[in-house]
Amino acid sequence: MNRVVFARKRDYLFFLPSLVPLLLLFVYPLLKGLVMTFQETGSSGLTLHNYIEFFTNPRYYDTIFRTLYLVIPATIIELIIAFGITYFIRGKMRGKGIIAGLTIFPLTLGSIIIDMGIISFFKPTGWFNTVLINIGLIDEPFKLVYNYWGTFLALIILGVAFMASNFVGIMDYIDPNLEQAARSLGASRWITFKRVYFPLIRSNVLTVFALNLIMQIGVYSSAVIVGNPASETRTFVVVAFEEAMRNFNYNMANTVAIVMGITQIVILGIVFAIRKRGYIGSASTFK
């Protein structure tokens, strides 16, 4: 991360062979999809109709808010949880491996298995509600699946796992002597965190946060399986999928995808603008 960029001259020739599959697999479909958004089904004339439809029909433009309303709070909570756990176990600590392992483990399961787990654990007759009712904390079970909260939980579990797996490395990279130097110079634990530790990991933490955020904007299976894809969790990909698979309107499906892409780029831009306001260099002084 944040390595010195070396000036490379002719090395890029080696890069060309790997560029071919990239062009075929990624750039070509993207361009083709982009062109399709300016066409209507069955005709090849260019038109803005799809975009006009998207931004005037709440069935479409609502997906922007629904997705962000779901994903932004979720990723902020994920950031806090993942940061808290990894900060707590940073450096040498007994049980570090177990805590880190349990936190990161969901990544190996993938989203569908997580969704299944959430259903059996959080459904009205699941463990979670049964325990709460039995100890008398609540009378009615919480409705935590097949709605906003189901998807929210799924996002949290995977997002925390993803961010924590990255944070562990970022935090291990910080020389513990830096904190000790600050403390020996008279800084309290909090000041040490604020003035030394956090500024050094801030830029990498925000990069991971941005990455996680744009990944979660593309949420699909959790929105469908544990959410309510008809309303609350009608995210970008749900709508795009519906257009393509049910209405066979590939032009509209691509339009949704492009709007999603633009939303991701805008959000990325905002996070990186925030990131640029702090220290971005290396956290090590050795060259």
Partner: protein, 369 residues
Amino acid sequence: MIQVERKKIFTGNSTRVELKNLTKKFGSTTAVENASLEIDSGEFMTLLGPSGCGKTTILSMILGILEPTSGEIAFNGQPINHIDMSKRDIGMVFQNYALFPHMTVFQNIAFGLDMRKVEKEEKKKRVREVIKMVQLDGLEDRFIKDLSGGQQQRVALARAIVIRPRILLLDEPLSNLDAKLRKEMRTQLKKLHRELDITTIYVTHDQEEALSLSTKITVMSKGVIQQIGAPEEIFRRPRNYFVANFIGYGNFLKGKLVDEKNGQFIFETTKDSLRLTVNRDNKHQVGDQVFLTIKPEMLEIVTGEKTGVNLLDGEIVTSDYIGSATGYEVQMENGRTFQVNVPGLNPYAVGQKVKLYLDPAKILIVDEE
């Protein structure tokens, strides 16, 4: 409450540091064992010893990074074990400098003053003062990664001294520098210590550094203090085999003091019953198991006729020109060898039969342990 305690403990600028039976264990390994040490205020004490002998561990306990397993650390007679490291008022130069990469040279140096809420003008004045002292003028606004190793080291030093700490801890601060810069920095450190008069504990592997800087040296091995003394004392009268060996004595002979005659001991080696005469010292007596040691440059090669004690017949087996002197290996008939340094370029030839003379006044008796 801690504030009050701190005032009570740090009265006046001079701080005496005492370690009493200090022990640190990491699981089953003992990094420091029962170390007792007194460092007077204003003293420059060097911890000398091979890698892994517990030097950094001792500094870390004084600084407060590590908690002693048992024993006590006291400043001016007051135990400090329970005082938080941010309140100990110690300037530390870490083995790897530990400079803040996201701050400029100025900000790094000013950090400790910010923590002490020193008012802005005063802060600027003091930072400028130390920058001058360590000769970093003009580099105030550089980031750390844009400095050379030697400059980084000086920033670390400046950051530690600008707070006018009670104690300065320096963990091999010159180990990353080239020979020339190391010498320069050594001179600067010496001057600095004379000007500031801060109680200093300095860690190094380098004997020359230890000799030139310290007012007192502590030699350690495997977590145990071997000898404490003034530099001359350590180098002239190493107490035991380890210390003598570590500071460059050679030609060790293991054996026993078997007799005493005219103020001299008669010594006999265990392995080959070689008998030597050595001047008496008042620390040993007949019957002691000891080592004799003599520096290669103290041994003499005799080619002409000479009679008396401590003359050994041998043959030169190797020669090695080492700057201003030539190093020879001389082998006796029974295979025992001696290292001899003779001034000049190759005065003897390999294969030549020679006599070795071990002057009884130049042989040192040291303990085994």
